[in-house]
């Protein structure tokens, strides 16, 4: 049997789900050596990648493309783009999650997983772990402050805001939130919710907070504006600048998905 014949056979034979596992493996390994992936192997790799991404998503840190190649794909690193595209498709269609690529430097790709569903009415039925709950409240307060202030907030202003609310106190972690400063400058930055950057050309150095990449994808500006309006007791539309921004962001997202 020549190689070509075997290759053609493998492609047509394994189109249906086959129960002859041994035959699969022998054929698959041979065709892999040729440089092609059988659809069975492809499926396995895609499934492994999906499982890898799902379990690494727990921490909300970015998943490095290099790690996926090293841990899951191993020798098949060359087809990483194809496999990751397949994984994106599976995550979107079966799990309802969006795998978003973040490019920090060129060629260094990170991925993060966002929920594709909108939580407007069903949110009250979801029960998050206690840590996540308190972190979400803290993030909502800080992100809404940054948003209302036009996208940037200096470190000192953030500090005074939080201490006025009674959340920040020196050398003491909050009962509900934990170590607030550590969360803001460490954990949330690593999870890409916030950016804690140094203002250029200022001496002594000063820092400011901005929205992080994950916040851009995950957080709905409209909900934040609604919360602020609720607190003030007014209508969201009264905040003209911010409302314009909400509409603009929503329009951009719609265009992206098309």
């Amino acid at each position: 049997m020549n190689m070509f014949g075997m290759h053609m056979r493998s492609k047509t034979f394994f189109w249906r789900a086959s129960t002859i596992e041994e035959g699969n493996e022998i054929m698959a390994s041979k065709s892999a050596q040729e440089g092609h992936l059988s659809s069975q192997e492809e499926e396995n790799l895609i499934n492994d990648t999906v499982r890898y991404i799902l379990s690494h998503d727990n921490t909300k840190y970015a998943i490095k493309r290099q790690d996926i190649v090293k841990d899951v794909l191993k020798t098949y690193g060359g087809s990483s783009k194809y496999i990751i595209d397949g994984a994106t498709r599976v995550l979107k269609e079966i799990f309802g999650m969006k795998l978003v690529a973040v490019e920090q430097n060129s060629n260094v790709k990170h991925y993060m997983l966002i929920n594709n569903e909108k939580f407007s009415t069903d949110a009250r039925y979801m029960k998050w772990p206690k840590e996540v709950e308190s972190q979400q409240v803290l993030l909502m307060l800080t992100l809404s402050l940054i948003f209302m202030k036009g996208g940037v907030e200096s470190e000192e202003d953030m500090l005074s805001f939080l201490s006025n609310l009674g959340i920040m106190s020196k050398n003491r972690s909050h009962e509900y939130f934990g170590d607030v400063w550590k969360l803001l400058t460490g954990e949330f930055v690593r999870q890409m919710y916030l950016e804690h950057v140094r203002i250029p050309e200022l001496d002594p150095p000063k820092f400011e907070f901005r929205w992080g990449r994950r916040a851009e994808e995950e957080v709905s500006r409209r909900s934040l504006l609604e919360f602020v309006s609720l607190v003030y007791g007014t209508d969201p539309k009264n905040w003209t600048t911010q409302y314009q921004e909400v509409l603009q962001t929503e329009k951009n997202k719609r265009e992206k998905e098309m």
Partner: protein
Amino acid sequence: MINISVQNPEDALIDAKVVNASSTVLKRSAQALDTNLLSFTREEYYKNTLSDLQEESSVVRQGKLNFQKLASKAAECFSRTPPASYVLGAFQVGEVACAKKKEQKQRAKQEIERKSQPENVTCNKEEDDIEDSVHYIMNVLTAAYRQNKNKPICFFKLVINPDSFGATVENIFHVSFLVRDGYVNLSWDENRFPVIAPVPRNAIETKYEQQKRQMILGIDMKKWEELKKAFEIREAMIKPRSIDATQESSN
């Protein structure tokens, strides 16, 4: 024109820096401008948030603000993926438990081994003791027999120790070895009392021809007292070993 600017490079540098700084300042001022109908200030925001929370929180918790009330509103703002966890957990948990069990088994075995060694030593010692006692009793019996003009000796007179019931039982126990091995001979006397006599040495070698008679005896403290009275036993024939000093009981 180009020559002129090249002639004063320091000036050009300073000019560039000035332009840079002023543009940064302009940018910041532009950012600080607000064209809202309602302007947003930090102070107003936090005051409103505080007052909202204080209204909602219960009367008891006035000192601390209950931020948990905001939890459901906060969750609505995020499109977060729920944490994925496995129902049964990682496979490795089972292996860890087994390893511990093995260690415990090994430890248990080692402990048992250590414990058994001292036991072995005492066992041997005990066996030696028994052998010594048996020999001793044999000697006593032989001497008494000779004193008695080679007539069998009353069994009870031999074994009973008037001061210690425990020693009596031990003596019976030791004598039973002699009986079992055929070194002594049990029989009845004219009054149907058991008597005991050592077997002569030459007869021991042909012990298969011997008739091995054995007696089943039961004794308790009451019987012991009665026997003491009946036979008027005042002194033990078999002197007890030094260990039995604690077993002596007063009458």
